[in-house]
C-alpha cells in the first residue's frame, strides 16, 4: 500500500511539472501582455504612459523576457511559496487567491453536500419506484438540470428572485453588510443570498448524481445476491440501503476525484453572473488579460488538487470496495 502511494506521488510531481510547463507556454502564446490592458485604461482617461515608463514597467515585470526565463522566475519563487505579483490587480498573487478561497470552498462545499443529500435519496427512490409518475417527474427535472447551462439558470433564478420574491440578488451580501465586520446579522444576510448560488452550482451535479445512482442501483438490484438477500427474508429497506446502495455508490465515489478542483473554481460563469467573491472570476480575468502569474498559479492549484483528488478517490474506492486491488 505504501509503495503504491509513494509511486503515485512521484507520478504526480512529474505530471504537475509537465502541466506547468505546457500551461505557461500556452498562456504566453497570444501576442501582447498584461501591460496592454493597463495602457489602454490609462489612455482612455488620457493619462498616457510615456515610452520610458512603459519600458520601466516591462523591465520590472520581466515582460520582455522569453517564456522559459519567465517560467524559471516563477517556478523558483513558487516552490518557496512566493507566487509573484498580479500585474493587473496590483497585489501579490497569494493574497488575492487567499482572500477569495474561503468563499469558493464554502459555496462549493455546501453545493456538494446539497447535491449528495438530494441526489442519493432521489436516485434510490427513482430506482425502487421505477416507471411511476414521481420517477418520470424526477427524470424530467433532472434532464432539464443537466441540459440548461448554469449561467442561464443563474440568470433565470436571479430575475425570478428579483421580480417575484423582491430579493436582493447579485453578490453574497447586501451593500449594508458588505464592509461590516462579521456578526450574526451578517451571517443571516449571507444565507439569504446563498440559496441561489447553491441551487445553481449544484443543479448540474445533482442531476448527474441522481441519474447515475438510479442507473447503477437498477443494475445492482438485478444481481443474484440481492435476490438471495430478499430470499433470506431481510427487510426491503435493509436490502436496498445496506447492500445494494453501497455497491451502486462506486461511480459516485470515483467522480469525487474531480470534485476537489471544482471546490475552488466554483463554476466560473455562474460566479461572474451572480457577482460572487470567489476565485473563478479572478481566474477568467487573469487569462483574458494575460496576467501571467495569477493565471499560472491558479492553474497549478487546480492541477494539484485534481491529482490529489484522484489519488484520494482511488484510495477511498479501495476502502469501500474490497474487490479493488491497488497495483
Amino acid at each position: 500500500m505504501t509503495n503504491y502511494i509513494i509511486r503515485r506521488l512521484i507520478y504526480m510531481v512529474v505530471t504537475l511539472w509537465f502541466i506547468s510547463l505546457i500551461s505557461f507556454f500556452l498562456i504566453e502564446l497570444p501576442p501582447g501582455s498584461a501591460l496592454d490592458a493597463r495602457i489602454q485604461q490609462l489612455r482612455n482617461m488620457g493619462g498616457d504612459m510615456s515610452v520610458q515608463q512603459i519600458e520601466a514597467l516591462r523591465q520590472q515585470y520581466g515582460l520582455g523576457d522569453p517564456w522559459y526565463v519567465r517560467y524559471w522566475k516563477w517556478i523558483s519563487g513558487a516552490v518557496r511559496g512566493d507566487f509573484g505579483d498580479s500585474f493587473q490587480q496590483g497585489a501579490p498573487v497569494s493574497q488575492l487567491i487567499w482572500s477569495r478561497l474561503g468563499y469558493s470552498v464554502m459555496i462549493s462545499g455546501f453545493a456538494l453536500i446539497f447535491a449528495w443529500l438530494v441526489a442519493i435519496p432521489l436516485g434510490v427512490y427513482s430506482a425502487t419506484h421505477r416507471y411511476t409518475i414521481p420517477d418520470y417527474l424526477v427524470t424530467v427535472i433532472q434532464f432539464i438540470g443537466i441540459s440548461v447551462p448554469e449561467f442561464l439558470l443563474a440568470l433565470l433564478l436571479m430575475v425570478f428572485a428579483a421580480r417575484y420574491l423582491n430579493a436582493d440578488v447579485g453578490g453574497l451580501f447586501s451593500s449594508a453588510y458588505q464592509n461590516a465586520p462579521w456578526s450574526w446579522d451578517k451571517f443571516v444576510d449571507m444565507l439569504k443570498h446563498l440559496w441561489i448560488p447553491i441551487i445553481v452550482v449544484s443543479a448540474g451535479s445533482t442531476a448527474w448524481n441522481t441519474r447515475v445512482m438510479r442507473a447503477n442501483l437498477l443494475d445492482v438490484l438485478n444481481q443474484q445476491y440481492i435476490q438471495t438477500a430478499r430470499a433470506k427474508g431481510l427487510k426491503e429497506s435493509v436490502v436496498v440501503w445496506k447492500h445494494a446502495v453501497r455497491n451502486a455508490l462506486h461511480p459516485l465515489i470515483m467522480a469525487l476525484g474531480g470534485v476537489l478542483p471544482a471546490l475552488i473554481s466554483a463554476e466560473v460563469t455562474t460566479s461572474i453572473v451572480l457577482n460572487l467573491p470567489t476565485t473563478g472570476p479572478l481566474f477568467v480575468t487573469a487569462l483574458l488579460n494575460k496576467d501571467m502569474y495569477l493565471a499560472i498559479t491558479f492553474l497549478m492549484m487546480l492541477s494539484v488538487l485534481l491529482v490529489i483528488g484522484n489519488l484520494l478517490a482511488d484510495l477511498l474506492l479501495a476502502w469501500v470496495d474490497p474487490r479493488v486491488r491497488l497495483e
Binding site: P30, P31, G32, S33, A34, D36, A37, I39, Q40, Q41, R43, N44, M45, G46, G47, D48, M49, S50, V51, Q52, Q53, A56, L57, Q88, Q89, G90, A91, S99, L155, M158, V159, A162, D168, V169, G170, G171, S175, A176, Q178, N179, I272, V273, L274, N275, P277, P281, T285, L288, N289, K290
Partner: protein, 654 residues
Amino acid sequence: MLAEMVKAGKLPPVQERLPKNPYVVPHPWLKEGKYGGTLRQMCSSADDWGTTHLIQEEMYGNSPLRWHKDGLAISGGWVESWEANEDLSTWTFHIREGIKWSDGEPFTADDVLFWWEDMVLNEEVAEGPPDEARSGKGTLAKFKKVDDYTFQMIFDAPSPLTADRMAMWVNRGIGPGWSAPKHYAQKFHKKYNPNVKKDWVNDFGYPGGKAVDFATNPECPTLTGWKLKSYTKNRNSVWERNPYYWCVDKWGNQLPYIDTVIMTNIQDPEVLKLKTTQGDADFAHGGFLPFTLADVSTFRQTENRSNLHLEFWDSGSGTSSMYFFNHDFADAKMRELVRNPKFLKALSHAFDRQTAQTLIYYKTGELTTGTLSPKAIEYVINDQGKQVYRSWRDSAVEYNPDKAKQLLDEIGLKDTNGDGFREFPDGSKLLITIDYPADQPQNGEHVRKNELLAKNWQAVGINARMTPQPPTGYDDRWQAGKILMKTAWEVGDGPNHLVYPQWLVPMEYSRWSPLHGNWYNLRGTPKENQQKNVDPWKRNPPRIGPFDKEADPNIKKIWQMYDQTKTEPDFMKRTQLVWDMIKVHIDNGPYFCGVAANTPRIELFHKDLRNWPTHDDLKSWGQGGFVNPWIHPTPAVYDPETWYWENPDQHTQS
C-alpha cells in the same frame, strides 16, 4: 452628523474648518439643500477600475482650476486666482488661504512643490511630468514657491494655454497630480525618511500607492468632497463626507449635503442593468456604465420599480462610433492607398450614415463626417468657427455610392478579374480588413456599425471583411503597422482643440498615424535622430521622421502649425491656426470618420434626489452637457456635492 462631533470636541466648528474664502458653487439651478442620506451607485468592471477611479470622476476637489459652462469658461478650484506676465511665460497662482486636507492639516504651496520636486522630478518615482508643465519648446517649467499660498510656473517661452490645461481632469489619479499631501506622504519617501522599504516607489504610484492614492487608502488625505471610509478590492468602496471640504453653496452651507456615497462593483453588465431596474442604485452615470440607447425602453418601463428618472445629457461626441485607417501601414501599396484622399472620401461617401444613425443611435445626434467635439470652443466662438465646423462635418458626409464608385474608378481600382471586387491598379488582390478587438460586445455600437460598413463597402466593389483581432497586443501591432483599421473608438474631445489635440495632430501611437506620432513624441530626446538607417517599422519604437521618404508632408505642416500655437499668446490667432489645421484634414482626409455627432448619454437619478441639472438647465447655462471627454470630468463639473435628498431619512444605510 458633524454637529455631534463638534459638540463632542472631536472636530473644530465649521467656521474654522473652511478657508477664508471658500469656493462658492455658482450653478444657477441650485436650491438650498438638506443634510443627510446615502447615495448608492454601481459600476461594472473586471477589476478595481470602477470602485476606485470612476468615483473620482464625480469629485472636482483636487483640481486647481475647473471647467465651467461645459467648457466655455474656466473658474478657480483650490487656486483662487491666477495671473500671467506680459508674454505669458510666467504664471502665478494664488491658493485659497485656509484650505485644509481631510485630516485637518493645512494645504499650502508646499504640497504643490512636494509633488513637483519629490514625485515628478525625482527619477525613481514613475510619475511623468504632465504636458501642461512643458513649454512650447518642450522644456519643463520651473516651479517656485513665492510664499505659503503662492507659487509660480516659469516657462522658457510663452505658454498661453497653461490655465486651460490645468482645468483638465479631476487630477490626482486621473490626470496629473498637481499636489500631494506632503505631511502624510513624506514618511513614505526616501528623501525624508531614510528607513523606508526597498520598493518605496510603489507607494507613490496610482493606483494603489499608499502615500498618494486616496481612493484605495482611507488614511491618505484628500481635498475632495468625500473621503474614503472603507474599501474592499473589486467589490465596493464606501466614501463619507470630508469635514474639511472647502466649498460652500450660495447660502453659505458647507458641502457636501449627502453623508455617504457607496460604489458597488457588479462584474457582469447585464446583471448591473437588472439591479438598476430593481432600484439598487440612486444614481447611474451613463458615461461610465455600459448603458446604450437600446436600454432606454427598459429603464422607462421599470421606472416605478426603480424610482429612477431618466435624463439625457449631451455626450459632446464628435463622431460616435468611428473608423480610421492606419496612415502608416507597413505594406507600401496599401499605405499609398489609405493615404490617398480620394480613397478616403470614396469610402466615406459609400457609408450610409443615416441607416447607422437610425439603427444604432435611434436617430439622435447629427450626421457627421467625423470631427472633434462640436462643443469645442473653436467652433462656437463666432460665425467663422461655426462655418469651419460645418465644412468639416459635411466634407464627406453625403451618402452617394455612385460618387464613391466614380472616385474609386479614378484611382484605378477596377474589377479586372470579374470576381465582383475591385483590385489594385496592378491587378493584385485588394482586401480591406475591418479590424476590431474581439472582446467587443456583438450587439454594441461598434460591431453593429462595422457590419454596416462591410455591407456598404462591398456594395461599391470593395472587398471588405470584418476581422476580429485579439485584444491584447492590438496597439503593439498597430504601431508596427500590421493592423489596418481601428473601428472601436470615438472622439469626445474638446472643450478646446489645443488642450487635447491628439486627434488633430499625430503625437502618439494609438491614433491614425502611429509612426509619425511616435517620432513627434521623441523629439528632444536622443532617440530622435537614432536608427536613421533602419527601416521605420523595425525601429524601436517604430517611427517615421521627416527625414524618411515615407514621411507625409501634410503631417509636417500640421506639426508646424501646432508648434506655433504653443507659443502664440493671442487667442484668435491660435484659433485661426486650429482652423488651418482642420483645413489640412478636410483637404487630405478624412483621416477619421464617424457616424453622428453629439448623441445623448443616459443619466438616471432617483426621484427623490435634488439639485442635479436637467438637460434644459445645461442648455441655458452651458452647452447641454459634455459627457464623453474625461478631461471635462462629468459629473464632477456639476458638483454632485450640492445634490441632496428631499427626504434624507428615507435614504440612510444602516
